[in-house]
């Protein structure tokens, strides 16, 4: 017999709630459920077959399609390609307040050093108390140079300085730390756009907190609109985070989650594994 929408509806309603429990944004959960309904319309099922396993299989498909969004080159490949041209790879890190940008930059620095690259960090958060000292201490731990000016100086100017410094000293990668900013603050979003315009980054990385709920959607939309996002890093996955934000963000902007933050040490950065992630959500 043909699978009826009457039969599917309650299963999808239940699925929608379980996706929300996993911190998938509500509208994204709705979208996923309607995609599943579409994929299963007119499908033939056994007279007494339970539709749940079929829905699960389709869900897995839909989630993997979203998360495995094809992107031209991987993160490290992009860095390698730029460096092999004899130019420093410039990576701009952006995101809202407290998402974990500064620590993540240090983790990425550690990873790049392990991969044989030289690194410097631009202290382009010239606003928040203790921001410059925080970068300096992390840079010292890594054994890399932090390029800074004073508090209140122009963020784009510091970033530009760092790129020039990297060029002059043959440093492979410039990691630009920026201030946290609410995506609703137009002037701050414009400032971020200016930093990108001045430094012309090879990669823009959106650092998102995996504990974020529905706001992840609006954050990703706005940051994508103002400065374009190449990769996403989701932090605090060790905080019992279900990580649904990965699905919401990838669905919305079609960009992959490259890494996840799994703790507060410099080693706590792992490549994002969509298969393993979907296995945890689709139980």
């Amino acid at each position: 017999k043909e699978l009826s929408s009457k039969e599917l509806q309650p299963v999808l309603e239940e699925l929608k709630l379980s996706l929300v429990r996993n911190d998938v944004a509500y509208t994204v959960a709705e979208e996923i459920c309607s995609e599943i309904a579409e994929k299963l319309s007119g499908v033939k099922v056994g007279r007494f077959e339970d539709v749940r396993p079929l829905v699960k299989k389709t869900l897995r498909q839909v989630l993997l399609e979203t998360l495995k969004t094809s992107y031209e080159k991987g993160f490290l490949e992009t860095v390698k390609a730029k460096v092999s041209k004899g130019e420093p790879a410039v990576i701009l890190f952006v995101g809202v307040n407290g998402s974990g940008k500064t620590l993540t930059i240090a983790k990425v620095g550690r990873m790049l050093l392990r991969n044989g690259f030289t690194v410097c960090i631009a202290c382009s958060d010239t606003f928040r108390a203790g921001a410059i000292e925080q970068v300096e201490i992390l840079a010292k731990r890594l054994g890399v140079r932090a390029i800074k000016q004073t508090y209140g100086s122009d963020a784009a100017a510091v970033a530009y300085d760092a790129v020039q410094y990297a060029r002059a000293h043959g440093i492979n990668v410039v990691l630009i730390d920026t201030a946290g900013r609410m995506q609703t603050r137009r002037n701050l979003m414009e400032e971020m756009r200016k930093i990108a315009r001045v430094t012309n980054p090879d990669l823009v990385v959106f650092v998102g907190d995996s504990l974020t709920g529905n706001d992840a959607v609006n954050q990703a939309e706005e940051f994508m609109k103002y400065v374009g996002i190449d990769f996403v890093i989701l932090t605090k996955m060790d905080a019992d985070a279900k990580g649904g934000a990965a699905i919401s963000i990838s669905k919305l902007i079609g960009r992959p989650v490259a890494y996840i933050g799994t703790g507060q040490d410099l080693e706590d950065l792992e490549p994002f594994d969509p298969e393993r992630f979907v296995d945890k959500i689709v139980v």
Partner: protein, 293 residues
């Protein structure tokens, strides 16, 4: 945004020719949608929806109140109930003693910034305030608190190279006792419920210091994990009040509702920006209006 949908549903309630099961079902569905999009915990939403539906269909409206008005009031009442009611206990330090408040919360939830906002708030109201940095992990934590404290004109105690937060706090409290402070606010390191040694540490801090109030900061953008994280903090140290930070963004703060439900603690302030005066005394009506749209 979605807020329009609940408002338009409530408008439908008023325009409808008869208040029947269909209408109530529609309203409850829209309410569930609104609360889930606002990040309220799923089970809390389901329970609330059941109560609203039950009351809307079976409760007799009080004399002089139309069935429609009653339904709208039921929705509002049930949500406010989750917030612990409409009364905001005015957060006033007790006179004649040195009050000690301790800030706890998840990484990046706004503790350090809020500690200084609170210090500035109370200092401006005549309470001699002091700040203690008990975060020994985050690089630059002491410098961050010191820079903010200097701006607020509030003395800051910390031991930047210290490793023992209990010792730092005891040293700081002793210093502030001698300089006759009315209120000392302790900033602690960010932590989550699965960081065993950090949860053990905050428990120890609580037991040694016996603060007058433990304040939990909750990021307005937090999703479904707010409930279980808040519950874990409450079980470790007994949360006395909640401050919802980053309410100046687009997030509706449903996680705060979940945190209140998990701790039984009231929301006393909200953070509405990064500056020292971006702190507002909590207004339940305004919060619920924003939550529901």
């Amino acid at each position: 945004g979605l807020g329009k949908s609940l408002r338009s549903t409530l408008a439908k309630v008023f325009k409808a020719s008869r208040v029947d099961k269909e209408l109530v079902k529609g309203l409850v569905n829209d309410l569930v949608r609104a609360l889930l999009q606002a990040d309220v915990q799923v089970d809390l939403v389901i329970d609330l929806a059941k109560r609203v539906e039950d009351r809307a269909l079976n409760e007799k409206p009080p004399p002089g109140v139309t069935r429609r008005e009653h339904i709208v009031k039921v929705v509002y009442d049930e949500v406010v109930k989750l917030l612990g009611g409409e009364n905001v206990s005015s957060p006033v330090p007790k006179l004649g003693k040195m009050n000690v408040y301790m800030l706890v919360g998840l990484q990046g939830s706004g503790k350090t910034t809020t500690a200084c906002k609170l210090a500035s708030f109370y200092q401006r109201r005549g309470f001699r305030t002091g700040l203690i940095c008990a975060d020994v992990y985050r690089p630059g934590a002491y410098q961050q608190l010191k820079q903010l404290g200097d701006k607020a004109g509030v003395p800051v105690y910390g031991e930047p190279d210290g490793k023992d937060p209990v010792k730092i706090v005891l040293d700081g409290l002793e210093l502030f006792r001698r300089s006759k402070r009315d209120l000392v606010i302790i900033d602690t390191a960010g932590r989550h419920k699965d960081e065993e040694s950090l949860m053990k540490e905050v428990k120890e801090l609580y037991e040694v210091i016996k603060p007058d109030e433990v304040i939990l900061t909750v990021d307005a953008t937090i999703g479904q994990q707010a409930y279980s994280q808040a519950k874990a903090f409450h079980e470790a140290v007994g949360v006395g009040s909640i401050i919802v930070t980053k309410m100046d963004g687009s997030a509706r703060g449903g996680g705060a509702l979940s945190a209140v439900a998990a701790t039984g603690a009231p929301v006393k302030f909200i953070g509405v920006g990064e500056k020292l005066d971006d702190l507002e005394v909590f207004n339940p009506r305004r919060f619920v209006a924003r939550l529901l749209g």
